[in-house]
Symmetry: C2
Subunit: 238 residues, 2 copies
Amino acid sequence: MNNAQLAIDNETGHAAGVNDWLGNGQSAQIKMGNSFTTTNERTLDVHEHLFMIGDKQTHLYQILEGVIGIYKMLPDGRRQIVTFYYPGDIIGGGDKSNWTQHAEALCNAKVRCIPASTVDTLITTEPGFGQALLSMLATELEETRDQLLSLGRKSALEKVATFLLRISRRNKREGTEEGLLHLPMKRAEIADYLGLTIETVSRNITKLKTTGIIRLESKSLVSVKDISLLEELADGGC
Amino acid sequence: MNNAQLAIDNETGHAAGVNDWLGNGQSAQIKMGNSFTTTNERTLDVHEHLFMIGDKQTHLYQILEGVIGIYKMLPDGRRQIVTFYYPGDIIGGGDKSNWTQHAEALCNAKVRCIPASTVDTLITTEPGFGQALLSMLATELEETRDQLLSLGRKSALEKVATFLLRISRRNKREGTEEGLLHLPMKRAEIADYLGLTIETVSRNITKLKTTGIIRLESKSLVSVKDISLLEELADGGC
DNA sequence: GTTCTGAATTGATACATATCAATACACAGA
DNA sequence: TCTGTGTATTGATATGTATCAATTCAGAAC
């Protein structure tokens, strides 16, 4: 998760996240007080856009399957992917009325669409929901700042190591194998996320491979052989 | 501002920002319902730290004077400044319990300290305050994502142009001269913000100068001679 | 005024990553 | 199985920025 689970619910002691109100996608209904709102799902093919920059922000989206890439572009075509959203993550939640970047499915994906009006209602009627949103945004800001450190100050090898480590840590949080990393995106998308070229990403993956830190089970499946060496590289060689 | 002024107050039609509740620093009192909370000011010398990474987040800070730089570091000393906070800006507002970066005064500065407990109270008692915080964080996230685009995909010259343009636009918003830019920070700090070295920053400022786009009134005072050329450069040469 | 000191600028060179180009690979369709 | 096509890898070279080094500049202290 991206992640909305930091606001502590004082009564139960469990972490109250945005998903506690929005559900996990099993049900198409969201309970608000004693009324319900119905949500609908949307399926996206690879490369299909969920929204484009400037589009009206009519909904929040909860990722159910697949990965969505959020990106900005320069007029000459240079692209910077600012986030990858994974299942469980929520896109949106700020109060901007229009999207300020593009959102594209990097593989086949499914999202649940939650009307912005529902969110507005939840904020006023459900105590704690606004807090959970705040928490989610704070986490997202924090992760974006980490990415600034990568882009501004790390070498290509360190960037790639950091990227892999981030996936590993997500796996750990989600309870899946932290040493087996599935890369649902292409090298070009990793490059646009790390501020590198395809070739440099490829060369540095190869370097990690020949060093014995990782093994390439396939082009999109990496197994980590030495996680502490990977961490050392990611955190700046010291 | 950084900026908390996007939530629209439906009754007055004016932009409701966090500062509407926290005041502008003239008064040391914050009204909450019919009770008051007293805040205190803190003065910082150049290079003095407001907080360090890991410190307990006991307060929010409202910048009254000067500029505060927020930064992350790698163990070997490489530094990335993630934001500059200016007068009117609020530092904090997420719900993290500890600071995840360092905050240092880049020149003599003054801040107002607002206890975290006061913020918690305001969220529950003052309708709209939570929304304003949400709005502030969303704006901050958006600006950080713009910076990702700069760091990941722009050339040194474009980065410097973007940096200057950002100051110009802040001036415009604040109602001061958009063509006259005061740089309260040193070249080293600009470099650590843009992911460059001091020398590269200096060379590119010189380049903008010899091109006639800017004029250096002094080392820390820039006047913009051709703002549309500066914009063209900043947005990626097209 | 002179001297001192940190900061900024400028120059020469090194180096990391981009660019251009050529395979190699893997999977889909015939 | 073969062929076609998009993707990844690898190689050779170019280039932008970092690094190392030397002035220059501006303000503070005397």
